[in-house]
């Protein structure tokens, strides 16, 4: 009898703790893109082309979660000099059929310019990262499959529902079981050949939240790579939603400039 009870309890607990693939990708998405109610980080982006030439971008990102998966981003450029003090703002949508809204503020013209939604697989500021790497890819856009798991990691295969809209045929993501941070993503082209790899090189716990502090993307076809170094990371700083409006594009707030 005792054995039976133990067996039932064990089964029950196994069932209770085995996450479905949807739960895993949801938790990973939360860990990677939604930590805290809001957050800030300074990013130093080192873009290295195949010939070894380096270009550097420095920016401050402010992020606010605005409910139901939507978010607002305020990106303030500090370098290089020709884009200094420019601001890029995104109101991210996740619902099917809704496009993100994006604006650019050009200080020399005092011009707030809306940007046509465009391809999210386009390079972010000339780096090997694409817009989707920065703000996240909506979960409904792919079907997810748990390929394998070890004691420490899940391996998830993601297949786009609309393959014509993207530059890959599928990608696999390795997720850390402890932190739920995605640690590696590998993209296969239309012929099934690996062409792009994104990795979390370093991560730390910041205010109790697992956080990537260095990430790297490799363009395996052209040979270039980009490394992002994150610093000054803070969560729950109490950002006001007002900050993500035209007023503060024209007048960058202290949260962006300090």
């Amino acid at each position: 009898m005792k054995t039976l009870i133990t067996a039932v309890l064990t089964l029950a607990s196994v069932h209770a703790f085995a996450l479905t693939v949807d739960e895993i990708v949801e938790k990973a998405n939360q860990a990677a893109y939604y930590a805290g109610n809001d957050g800030q980080a300074d990013v130093k982006m080192v873009i290295t082309d195949a010939g070894g030439g380096e270009r550097i971008r420095e920016l401050r990102i402010l992020r606010l979660n605005t409910g139901a998966g939507t978010q607002k981003f305020y990106v303030y450029f500090k370098a290089p000099a020709d884009v200094r003090n420019q601001v890029f703002m995104v109101w991210k949508e996740v619902e099917q059929g809704k496009d993100d809204s994006r604006w650019l503020f050009l200080p020399a013209l005092n011009l707030v310019k809306p940007i046509a939604p465009g391809d999210k697989r386009t390079s972010f500021v000339g780096s090997d990262f694409v817009y989707e790497d920065v703000s996240g890819r909506a979960l409904w856009e792919d079907t997810h499959e748990l390929i394998s798991e070890t004691d420490t990691q899940y391996l998830i295969k993601n297949t786009p529902k609309n393959p014509g809209a993207v530059d890959f045929s599928e990608y696999t993501v390795t997720i850390d079981k402890q932190t739920f941070l995605p640690v590696k993503a590998e993209y296969l082209d239309k012929n099934g050949k690996l062409f792009r790899r994104v990795e979390a090189v370093k991560s730390e716990t910041v205010q109790g939240r697992p956080t990537v502090t260095e990430s790297r993307v490799d363009d395996l076809v052209r040979g270039g790579h980009t490394v992002n170094f994150f610093s000054n990371i803070r969560y729950d700083i109490g950002l006001n939603e007002q900050l993500f409006t035209e007023r503060f594009l024209r007048r960058p707030p202290r949260e962006a400039t300090k």
Binding site: S101, G118, T122, R247
Partner: protein, 404 residues
């Protein structure tokens, strides 16, 4: 080239002050050379020959933010390049910004001093934006940021819950930096000329002033705005037969705009009524008639890294029974990790049969160095139309810029 030395000295002083005050200092050195692509009997071959240093500094304080941005230049084409004229921007100094911004209460911002002001939805077309433009810079292939000339103004913004409101007060008319025969020849009413245009510009502080207002808010995802302006025509479109000088007649403008996402792109609409207060009856041949101006535009990414946009623009002059239609197209292609940019902007008017092509290629050699070649090609069947008069002014320019 004797003006290079003072530039160096000014640079040194400003840098020293900036370092001492621990403020953020940035800028660029830009050298630019432009040539006509055809002979102009009224002008020489050069349209640009300049070396420009821009220094920019922003001082963030708890109570205010102070901004100073100024250009120091050697200009081999300007007529008066030895004399500082902050109004026209001619001469060795072009002060772009010198202002203080502060937030007296939570729901208002104030910016006072020299500043660049911009609003409205048009792409290189302006209806309700009556802040000064610099057409000389625009037509000669300077960087696009120079299309906007500075205003000396008090700019106040209010943010009540129902909308945002901007009020701009300019105590003394800031006219456009218009084509006046300095760099380009133009149609003077009887023929093409390269002579200096003689004008009478209203310049009495607090009586020859300008007032501009905008109220805007976003409804769903559409940004709606209404505008008002009271001041003067920004280019000398009037004429005083007694003094034989061109004048800036009185003007009020009332308008509205809407801009929002549509079918994966951005759609915009703007309209304005130009109330030419000096000649409401439309009978005075020396004062421009009132007009209705409209534009509609759409921008969309055509394929990855290639964006296209088109605009339709109408200038309707009811008293003259006259319409001028203009169609603009813009294509922007980004290549090589967005370091190489190929751009084309075109204006074309089917009824005036004139137009203007602006091709541009720029390449960011490194984070600091950028090379650029651009063209400004004007054409027209008649020489008295807006773009047709500049057909002899078509030019190509090349530039090298170091940003720091």
């Amino acid at each position: 080239m004797s003006s290079i030395r003072p530039i160096g000295l000014i640079c040194l002083i400003v840098s020293a002050v900036a370092i001492a005050a621990d403020v953020d200092l940035s800028g660029f050195v830009d050298s630019r050379y432009g040539l006509r692509t055809q002979n102009d009997p009224n002008k020489g071959d050069k349209t640009l020959e300049e070396l420009r240093l821009q220094l920019s500094s922003i001082w963030y304080q708890d109570l205010f933010t102070a901004t100073v941005r100024s250009d120091f230049l050697y200009d081999g084409v300007a007529h008066h390049h030895d004399r500082v004229d902050l109004e026209s921007g001619e001469g060795p100094v072009d002060l772009r910004e010198a202002n203080v911004q502060f937030t007296p209460v939570d729901w208002a911002d104030v910016k006072v001093g020299r500043q660049i002001l911009t609003w409205g939805t048009g792409d290189l077309l302006f209806i309700n934006d009556l802040f000064p433009k610099d057409w000389k810079s625009f037509f000669s292939g300077r960087d696009e940021e120079y299309l906007k000339a500075p205003s000396d103004a008090l700019f106040t913004s209010f943010f009540p819950s129902f909308a945002s409101i901007d009020l701009a007060y300019t105590p003394s008319l800031d006219a456009d930096r218009f084509i006046d025969g300095e760099r380009f020849s133009y149609w003077d009413g009887t023929g093409l000329t390269g002579r200096d245009l003689k004008t009478d510009q209203p310049d009495h502080w607090f009586s020859h002033d300008e007032f501009a207002a905008r109220i805007y808010r976003t409804v769903s995802t559409v940004e709606l705005a209404a505008y008002g302006y009271s001041g003067y025509w920004k280019t000398p479109q009037g004429f005083d037969p007694v003094s034989q000088r061109n004048t800036f007649p009185e003007l009020s403008v009332y308008g509205t705009s809407a801009r929002g996402a549509l079918a994966g792109g951005i759609a915009r609409f703007e309209g304005g009524y130009y109330d030419s207060r000096g000649d409401r009856a439309g009978t005075d041949p020396f004062i421009p008639d009132s007009q209705i101006r409209l534009l509609a535009g759409y921008e969309h990414e055509i394929i990855k890294d290639l964006t296209g946009s088109a605009q339709y623009y109408l200038e309707n002059t009811p008293d003259a029974g006259d319409n001028r239609h203009v169609i603009t197209l813009r294509l922007t292609q980004m290549l090589m990790n967005q370091n190489l940019m190929l751009g084309l902007f075109t204006y074309w008017s089917p009824d005036d049969r004139d137009g203007y092509l602006r091709p541009k290629v720029s390449y960011k050699i490194t984070d600091n160095w950028k090379a650029e070649v651009n063209g400004n090609f004007f054409f027209g069947e008649d020489r008295h139309t807006f773009f047709g008069q500049f057909a002899d002014d078509s030019n190509v320019a090349c530039a090298m810029r170091y940003s720091f």
